[in-house]
């Protein structure tokens, strides 16, 4: 029966391809939309659960959270490292992690921090950075640029690929992180001191080249007054957010209790140059907005599926009426209605299966390509991740492909065969 059904399908290749294409287009969009919405949501939730407080320069709380947790956007600026030392001495705080960003390796952002920032992340190869100019890269960075342990990474000034190269201060790759399917996969991690040293060297080169000895003095004076490098160079886009020695872009905290976290937050609230946020709250706000988008995506999915029903039903019905002659022929030579129904049901089940499989494949392919795109925004889409509801969508697509056939064949095969 299956063999005959396949042969019968092959006699109508063009029609079958058109039917499959129409199903695939709508089904893959529905599967893809759902998966992306879920993965973005999951990615945001997972990342916020580790730390309870982030301290950074005054500015946008969303930017601070997204920059520190997802490595997106530019840092708000810098604050003094003295705050780190102050918090390290604070008995209410368990974990204090300095965070600096400003340079890049090709398109991958470089984060200056402490090894503690990577607690819970497994190393696939090598070891954690310990000395200055040592670096650990995320799995996607290693894969993308074909890196292996011992390689030298020549970083660029700024976050764009076209920044000035730090040829004199390359980083030595000492470790590669295991795949985490998070934003960590797209980042180069090094010690905070490395960031400072690279900048110090870069700054010296700048000053030598431009013969700005006077300005160097001004700079030292300003630093002594507690001014950050960022404040001195407000107009200088290239230097925006760069952590010079003694400064960090953010401080990430894990307090002993939530009550302590609130206390610390309150203490810093009085400082107008400092912004203190609870990442969970900020991200919840973002998720609420994303959730609205998610609802829109679900509505779109439902609309697509309804369109699917109409498109598939129409094509199937037209196809079935086109097959009336074949059905009548089979009925005339004595093939029972049951067998005819099963034959066409098998045909449409095959179409349904092929369409569903292709839709799934296309959605994964799109996820794979989208992953590279959204990785720059700090979200890693895992093409192998399948949500249970995706099976529901695929099952619905299959049923939609088969159901109209069932109705049509029953209707057609019940007609007076001699009239067909």
């Amino acid at each position: 029966m299956l063999k005959f059904a396949l042969k019968n399908m092959l006699t109508k290749k063009v029609k079958m391809i058109l039917i499959i294409m129409s199903i695939v287009i709508s089904a893959s969009v529905a599967i893809l939309a759902y998966n992306v919405a879920e993965q973005v949501n999951d990615g945001l939730i997972n990342t916020t659960s580790t730390y309870d407080t982030i301290i950074g320069p005054a500015g946008s709380s969303t930017q601070l959270a997204m920059n520190t947790l997802f490595f997106t956007d530019k840092p708000l600026g810098t604050i003094s490292y003295e705050y780190v030392e102050q918090l390290e001495a604070d008995s209410r705080v368990n974990v204090v992690i300095p965070f600096a960003m400003g340079d890049s390796y090709n398109s991958a952002k470089i984060v200056g921090t402490k090894p503690a920032f990577l607690d819970g992340k497994e190393l696939k190869e090598g070891e954690m950075f310990g000395d200055v100019f040592e670096a650990v890269v995320g799995s996607s960075v290693a894969k993308k640029f074909g890196l292996s342990i011992g390689d030298e990474l020549v970083t660029s000034h700024g976050l764009s690929e076209n920044g000035e190269k730090h040829e004199a201060t390359p980083l030595k790759l000492v470790g590669i992180l295991d795949e985490t399917n998070t934003a960590y996969d797209n980042v180069v991690f090094t010690d905070i001191e490395t960031v400072w040293k690279v900048h110090e060297h870069h700054h010296d080169e700048d000053e030598e080249g431009e013969e700005h000895e006077d300005r160097d003095e001004d700079h030292d004076e300003h630093e002594a007054e507690g001014h950050t490098h960022e404040e001195d160079h407000d107009e200088d886009e290239e230097h925006e957010g760069h952590a010079e020695e003694g400064t960090v872009c953010a401080i990430i905290l894990k307090c002993k209790t939530l009550a302590y976290a609130e206390e610390v937050k309150k203490e810093f609230a009085s400082n107008s140059e400092i912004l203190t946020i609870t990442p969970a709250e900020v991200i919840r706000e973002i998720i609420n907005n994303v959730d609205l988008s998610r609802k829109i995506i679900y509505i779109l999915c439902v609309i697509i599926m309804i369109m699917n029903v109409f498109v598939i039903s129409t094509i199937t019905i037209l196809n079935m009426y086109d097959s009336q002659k074949d059905i009548a022929l089979m009925r005339l030579i004595g093939i029972g209605t049951g067998k005819v129904n099963v034959l066409f049901l098998i045909q449409n089940a095959v179409i349904g299966l092929i369409s569903t499989a292709i839709s799934f494949g296309i959605s994964r392919l799109c996820l794979h390509f989208m992953s590279d795109f959204v990785a720059s925004m700090g979200i890693v889409l895992d093409a192998s991740k399948i949500y249970p509801f995706e099976w529901v969508i695929m099952a619905a697509v299959f049923v939609i492909s088969v159901l109209p056939t069932l109705i049509c064949t029953v209707h057609i095969s019940r007609k007076d065969i001699i009239r067909n």
Partner: protein, 219 residues
């Protein structure tokens, strides 16, 4: 043996055809001759169980078939009857082989396909698509499909209707050759072929067309 009793077929509108009782004996070939519209094909379709008579009965070896369920009639047709249609009833896009193998859907064995195709002289066309065949070849494929299951009864509705006389005659001869020993009832309007069959039945002698009102008046 096939026997009809008081067969009547009513059509949409005002007409009905009444048939006199006929008996088709085993192993003989019959040809029903008559002009278009005299009820030849209708009779054949009622014998085959494709349509249900409005009145009367059809018996196969004293078993009344016309009142049985469509499922039983289908089963009987696929197992016992080889039906050859005027317009071949073949799937154009499929090969000769596949058109015969369609019977497998109902579990009919088609292992004798090559032998039948060979007898009909179209074995070499087995893998060809029906749409690539000539009218005569198509009719032979339709005959092959009817004979491959070795049926007890063969019904042929205008088997030469789409062929010229010479080809038609050769096709009928081949058909009769293969049908030897079986009951064959063929319908044709070409009386030149009649002599090839064992018995000739003139439809004018056994079927009469009436209007509904006429019948009511008689009653």
């Amino acid at each position: 043996m096939i026997r009809t009793e008081n067969l009547v077929k009513r059509f949409d509108g005002d007409t009905l055809i009444k048939y006199k009782d006929i008996t088709f004996e085993d192993g003989k070939s019959y040809v029903l001759l008559g002009a278009s519209g005299c009820g030849k094909s209708t009779l054949l379709n009622m014998l085959a169980g494709v349509i249900t008579p409005s009145g009367g009965s059809v018996y196969f070896d004293d078993e009344e078939m016309s009142r049985k369920s469509q499922k039983k009639k289908d089963k009987f047709r696929i197992e016992k009857i080889g039906y050859i249609f005027q317009d071949f009833k073949l799937i154009e896009e499929m090969t000769v082989e596949d058109n015969i193998n369609v019977l497998k859907l109902e579990g009919v064995k088609t292992s004798g396909m090559d032998e039948v195709l060979s007898k009909l002289g179209i074995l070499q066309k087995k893998k060809k698509k029906v749409k690539q065949l000539s009218g005569g070849e198509r009719q032979r494929v339709a005959i092959a499909r009817a004979f491959v299951k070795a049926p007890d009864i063969i019904l042929a509705d205008e088997p030469t209707g789409n062929l010229n006389y010479e080809i038609g005659k050769s096709v009928v001869k081949q058909m009769l050759e293969i049908a030897k020993g079986k009951t064959l009832v063929a319908v044709t309007h070409d009386d030149r072929l009649a002599d090839l069959f064992d018995c000739i039945i003139d439809m004018n002698d056994i079927a009469s067309s009436h209007s509904e009102s006429e019948v009511e008046l008689d009653a």
